[in-house]
Amino acid sequence: MTALLHLPSPSLIELESALRDRLWRGNMLVASNPSMPSGFAELDKELPGGGWPTHCLSELLLSHYGLGEVRLLAPVLARLSRAHRQIILLLPANENEQTVYPDGWAQIGIDPARLLMVRAPRPADRLWALEQALKSASFGALIGWVDPLRPEALRRLQVAAAGANGLSFLFRPESAQHQPSPAPLRLVLGSSKGTGERKLSVRIVKRRGPVLAAPLLLDLPAPRPLRAPLVKRPTDVASPRINRHAVGRTVLPYFAARSHPAPAT
């Protein structure tokens, strides 16, 4: 070591160029496990390995549900479901309030037949179920909506996740970002504060690599008709159309208006 320090600087440069492929520097991203592309080019660029990492836990921290957390994962989940891999959902504890709506998952490209939903009201059972699922390594992706977790429990889960070749995501409350966690990847999801555009802001608070200062702004795939403008004074347009359709037919007045331009003129 001392001999190396006394070497003149040119040979250090030579040494560095010789070791370029084998030397890890602090500002480089480390990819230790295979990963799956997230479907968002901006995000892939910042994730170590160029995508969601396998064999470890990824924490997604968010203040409340409905920000687009599932749509963020939709591209990779869609790919897994097309490959007939299972997606295990450990649903939130207040599960008597919400249920999975299969049509909504089908719409963002995820085959609902590949979803396996696990419900466990007691926190101890939820942790046990998560650990068993991680150990079984039989899933393409595992998504857990978890309650406040103790660090020991998280460490246990991370150890179990190391053997799983699928993706493991934990949705946790935003307040957990200041607690230490063994998960190698932690993202805070939020909404962009600016008006007008609807973008999901993703702040990477922990990754195997340098700190990322600015949050990423991602364009999520919006629910399809959202691209269409809202019909002015909806009731006026809707009521004459409805009468023409059979009872019980789902009608989207906007599409109806577009497909039948004749009566309006």
Binding site: G104, Q107, A113, Q132
Partner: protein
């Protein structure tokens, strides 16, 4: 250690059959009269030998060993297993012996093992070693190893033993040196035959043990057990037999029943607790089956102490034993998924693990159903023509109005809609709703609707879903 000896009755005489280390140290040896033993060591605990129990234990052991070889035979004091064909499958002699030893220890037995090219040679070797030890001889060592054994081990010496030791025959090699004709004339044909069987000069026919058609095993517990978790150890003994039986029948089990026989209360019938374990996919893996039993036992609250356990295989199918795989494939994924589902439903209940399927309906709350994950996977669902949220409220939540705008965290901004869903006049669930996609200041995308038939103006907006 307490000196313990087992006694055996021969007519009116009672002999010591077996003594433990403490008793042997006091001078108690097999074939000693009981009176002598008591004089040597008055505090010795004498136990009567129970032939029926011994036979039962041997049968259980034979069942457990069927996993390793189909050719098993039960003899008076032990088992003979033909393992030549199993050596390769189980990874060699050492690995196989380890597994057999492990299985027998699960049955709380302490076997001594002998391995030799001839059945009777192995038998003599096994009898010559201490419990939990193994003596092995290859074909060229066999004669050498047998020569050094005492003639006491032979079964057909019987009343000739004093004569034999009188003429200086102490080991098998001494006996072999005698002229064969002379042995036959003096001690009968049996002794020479036994010697030939051991050294391989004569073949031995055996009748092999056959597994019963139905599996049912009972286990009487030594002590009353009041803790359900402690029953796991006893259940493990039953599982060892079950796995041997499944191996012999090339079968896999889909339904198991573990019955707990509780302590009798006064004169009434013995109360029973039946624990039924159903499997989605047939399994013959003892570890997996035991994990399911353990989960169920951990949940159990015992009303009364348990005296006896019994295990029966109720539903058995032919096992299709897959080849081992080097890398995980789709097949091994689906097997481990089935196991996960079984394990989770053993603890959380079958309705805690579900899949969704689609119904032909327009009303969002009725267009899907839940089915247990143990059933066959549902058909794929085609994407709907209009926007649908990923999560649906079980009960639509009424939204209050704030300045004529519905309010959820903050006033909502309608982004898209309306989409009218009007259906169900023929049953009780008439729905007349205009659905909108709305957003609040926290940027949550919500699926809200306005009830068209609302009587009260304040009650007309509802939150029904979440675009997560």
């Amino acid at each position: 250690m307490l000196p313990v000896a087992v006694i055996e009755a021969h007519g009116s005489k009672r002999w010591i059959a077996l003594a433990n280390a403490a008793a042997s140290a006091a001078g108690i040896v097999p074939m000693q009269p009981v009176a002598t033993a008591l004089a040597l060591c008055p505090e010795v605990l004498l136990l009567e030998r129970d032939a029926a129990d011994e036979r039962q234990a041997l049968n259980e052991a034979a069942l457990a060993c069927l996993r390793y070889t189909p050719l098993t035979t039960v003899r008076e004091h032990g088992l003979l297993l033909e393992i030549q064909a199993s050596l390769r499958l189980f990874g060699g002699r050492r690995a196989l012996l380890g597994k057999i030893l492990q299985s027998l220890r699960e049955l709380a037995l302490k076997p001594s093992l002998g391995v030799a090219p001839t059945a009777h040679g192995a038998w003599l070797l096994a009898r010559s070693v201490e419990p939990l030890k193994a003596a092995c001889a290859s074909s060229n060592q066999l004669a050498l190893r047998l020569d050094g054994l005492s003639i006491n081990l032979l079964e057909s010496t019987g009343e000739h033993l004093p004569t034999l030791s009188g003429i200086g025959c102490r080991f098998l090699k001494d006996l072999r040196r005698l002229p064969r004709f002379g042995i036959t004339r003096r001690f009968g044909r049996a002794l020479l035959d036994e010697l030939d069987r051991a050294y391989g000069g004569q073949a031995t026919p055996y009748t092999w043990f056959e597994a019963p058609l139905r599996f049912e095993a009972r286990l009487e517990l030594i002590a009353r057990v009041e803790n359900a978790e402690a029953l796991g150890f006893a259940a493990r003994r039953l599982m060892a037999q079950l796995s041997g039986w499944l191996g012999a029948r090339q079968a896999a089990v889909t339904q198991l029943t573990l019955t707990l026989h509780h302590e009798r209360w006064r004169t009434s019938e013995r109360p029973l607790t039946h624990i039924q374990i159903g499997l989605a996919n047939p399994s013959h893996d003892p570890e997996h089956l035991f994990a399911l039993i353990r989960e169920r036992l951990n949940q159990l609250r015992l009303d009364a102490p348990v005296e006896e356990l019994s295990l029966s295989a109720d539903d058995v199918t032919q096992a299709d034993i897959a080849n081992g795989e080097l890398f995980p494939t789709a097949q091994s994924h689906s097997i481990s998924l089935d196991r996960l589902i079984e394990k989770l439903s053993a603890r959380l209940g079958t309705d805690a693990i579900t899949r969704v399927y689609a119904k032909s309906e327009h009303r969002p709350e009725r267009c899907w159903g839940m089915q247990s994950a143990t059933q066959a996977a549902p058909a794929s669902i085609a994407p709907p023509p209009a926007a649908r949220p990923t999560f649906l409220m079980k009960e639509p939540k009424a939204l209050r109005l704030c300045g004529h705008k519905p309010f959820w965290g903050s006033p909502l901004v309608m982004l898209c809609g309306p989409e009218r869903i009007e259906s169900g006049w023929w049953d009780d669930g008439l729905v007349e709703r205009d659905y909108f996609i709305a957003e609040n200041e926290a940027r949550q995308l919500l699926w809200v609707y306005r009830e068209r038939r609302a009587n009260d103006v304040a009650e007309q907006w509802f939150l029904h879903g979440l675009f997560a």
